[in-house]
């Protein structure tokens, strides 16, 4: 009887030991990282407000006719924002090149660009005097062309633009227009002359690329205050994120895949424009603000979009595409009367995995370069 009783105690001690081992192994001593959270760009953050204020550098010159009793001093403006198109149905996307360059995403992209040693970048720097990694500040893509802001004061750039017999002339208060032409030798010995993009250099800090000289001049006119009175498509208060801007519904329709054309048509019918903001400081988080005039139709469109995203997520889960499903986990539509906000995110880890081939290629190139050196006998 006593022996059997003692066995229970032995049994208990063994069980406690086993339980401790099981719990220790099961829980693990290392703390698990918290689940990923994504910060979506929704409004100006303090550092972005500071950036916005520091960019108000240009005071438009005024012609004093002597009629005003007490002329009000003009406020300085941001020349890049002033250069943006005006009115409805226009597209302008601003890429904060400098901010993206110094973000983790920028580092990854740079790694990809430099995987072949960065010879192209060096050649570009040598020929133009512009270091894209240091001298670029913002890049704006519009329907009419491209606007690049930064430091373009190097003489080499002007020489390059004005070389090869291209026409160039001053325009407005501080701009110079370049109309380069390119020659190409033909196989029969003749040459063909082709007009290159029209380029405007404003105050050594903004390059404007356009299809026609008039297009470039219109941009310069807007910067120097000779444009229409309408406000630019992007207001100062909307300059948050590392990429931001307004995309016209027509442009957006083209971006939809063929199987989503029904949704694209609905979007074109309901929305007036779409404001985009992308935060690339850690993860790639995007918000798209869709505005329309009919609240019911906008809400319906929001529901359709939410449904499309949910279906895409379910499909990704069913087909075992873990990364895509994880990406769409953060997809959300937030309706608010005549507008709704769509949120989408790509975690940085997913981007890293996608761009891993760049690092592998770079490593293999480096090891190949190193091999011949190792083979050389040391003197």
């Amino acid at each position: 009887m006593q022996r059997r009783r003692g066995l229970w105690l032995v049994f208990a001690v063994v069980l406690f030991g086993l339980a401790a081992w099981l719990m220790l192994s099961g829980q693990g001593e290392v703390e698990v990282a918290p689940p990923p959270t994504v910060a979506f760009p929704k409004r100006l953050r303090p550092e972005e407000r500071q950036r916005m204020e520091s960019r108000r550098t240009y005071v438009m010159p005024t012609v004093d006719s002597g009629t005003a009793a007490d002329p009000k001093p003009l406020k300085p403006t941001d020349p890049v924002l002033a250069a943006l198109p005006r009115g409805k149905g226009k597209t302008a996307m601003v890429i904060e090149a400098n901010a993206i360059r110094h973000s983790p995403l920028g580092e990854l992209l740079l790694e990809c660009m430099m995987r072949r040693g960065g010879d192209d970048l060096e050649r570009f720097k040598k020929e133009t005097g512009v270091d894209p990694l240091k001298d670029l500040d913002r890049l704006v893509i519009t329907d009419e062309g491209l606007i690049v802001s930064g430091n373009f004061g190097d003489k080499k750039l002007k020489d390059l633009l004005s070389g090869r017999g291209s026409t160039n002339y001053d325009y407005g208060d501080g701009a110079r227009i370049f109309e380069p032409t390119f020659e190409r030798n033909l196989s029969d010995g003749g040459t063909v002359r082709r007009d290159g993009p029209r380029v405007g250099l404003w105050n050594d800090q903004m390059l404007v690329f356009g299809r026609s000289p008039d297009g470039v001049k219109q941009v310069i006119d807007r910067v120097e205050g000779r444009g229409p009175d309408e406000p630019p498509v992007i207001s100062e208060s909307s300059t948050y994120g590392e990429m931001y801007g307004v995309v016209s519904v027509e442009q957006l329709k083209k971006m939809f895949p063929p199987d989503q054309q029904e949704l694209a048509l609905k979007l074109a019918e309901v929305a007036e424009n779409v404001e985009l903001h992308v935060d690339a400081r850690s993860d790639f988080a995007m918000t798209a603000q869709v505005k329309g005039s009919n609240a019911d139709k906008v809400t319906d469109l929001g529901k359709s979009l939410g449904g499309a995203l949910s279906l895409a997520r379910m499909r990704a889960q069913a087909e075992g595409e873990k990364e895509l499903a994880q990406l769409l986990d953060f997809a959300k539509v937030n309706p608010d009367g005549e507008e709704f906000r769509l949120e989408l995110a790509v975690p940085l880890e997913v981007i890293k995995e996608q761009l891993a081939f760049c690092r592998e290629q770079r490593d293999s190139t480096a090891s190949q370069d190193a091999k011949p050196q190792e083979a050389q006998p040391t003197p």
């Binding site: 009887m1 009783r5 001690v13 829980q27 309706p335």
Partner: protein, 278 residues
């Protein structure tokens, strides 16, 4: 074995006779019925487009149903886990002391049963009760949200069963206490203490650095090494309910560890009960 089942049946009959348990079941039923009648959910292509509780708009965001339901299922799992254990401690604290009370124990000991059969039967009866209650509540919740949203998941049911395993560890302590001192209040107090200790044990890796290095920290680590990691299991049950990635290294090992702790505690109870004179 039939002796163990007989005692378990006796415990269940005793539970059915108690108004407290019946009130609990009616309460859970009431919550489920109210939820099913007052909650209106609109789903478009698998996305939760609108939800209203008692006619009030709850959340305006449109997102995938399972993502939208995650916080609800997580909260439900947490309530089932901690609330269920607490309710179990209070409602079941009296079973063992009353079974071992003078008069009854002599009658039970006169039956052709081994002593450990009595304790094992009580344990089995209480655990049957806990599993039935957990399944009833979690299945009801899954059914309501499944019918309303078309999203079916076994997550909340599994998390409820995890809560039962945790309660098994807590109740084993209570049952062993009852063999030493026949007091419902002491059983409940030690059950509550085990629950708190189990929560602390789950966070031992986080808490340990705040304790002065040396003997006290090593003592803390040694004591919490043996205790059931209830908070870790609670977190895992919430993760499971929400179909989120698990934060623990191996759920099956952790679960087995907590269950084995309960069995170990039960073995201590058997040892003590075998040597006791009534």
């Amino acid at each position: 074995m039939s002796g163990v089942l007989g005692i378990a049946g006796y415990v269940l009959r005793e539970a059915a006779a108690r108004k407290f348990i019946l009130a609990f079941l009616l309460g859970v039923t009431g919550v489920l019925v109210t939820l099913s009648l007052s909650l209106r959910i609109e789903v478009v292509d698998g996305a939760l487009a609108a939800s209203r509780l008692f006619g009030e708009v709850m959340d305006t965001n449109i997102l995938a149903v399972d993502v939208a339901l995650r916080p609800i299922f997580m909260a439900a799992a947490a309530i089932v886990f901690y609330g269920g254990i607490l309710f179990g401690i209070v409602s079941c604290s009296d079973f063992a002391p009353s079974l071992l009370s003078p008069g009854r124990i002599e009658h039970l000991l006169a039956l052709p049963l081994r002593r450990w059969h009595i304790l094992a039967g009580t344990f089995l009866g209480v655990m049957t009760l806990a599993v039935c209650a957990a399944l009833y509540g979690s299945l009801g919740l899954v059914l309501i949200f499944g019918v309303k949203t078309g999203y079916w998941t076994v997550g909340p049911i599994i998390s409820a069963l995890l809560a039962c395993v945790s309660f098994a560890a807590v109740y084993a302590v209570m049952l062993t206490t009852a063999t030493v001192i026949r007091s419902a209040a002491l059983c409940a107090a030690l059950g509550g203490l085990t629950m708190v200790a189990g929560i602390i044990a789950g966070y031992r890796a986080k808490i340990a650095p705040f304790i002065e290095e040396g003997l006290s920290r090593e003592l803390f680590k040694a004591v919490t090494l043996l205790l059931p990691r209830l908070s870790s299991l609670a977190q895992a049950s919430m993760d499971l309910a929400a179909s989120a990635p698990l934060g623990v290294q191996s759920l099956s090992m952790l679960l087995a560890g907590v269950l084995v702790f309960g069995l170990g505690m039960l073995a201590v109870g058997f040892w003590w009960f075998e040597g006791r004179d009534y």
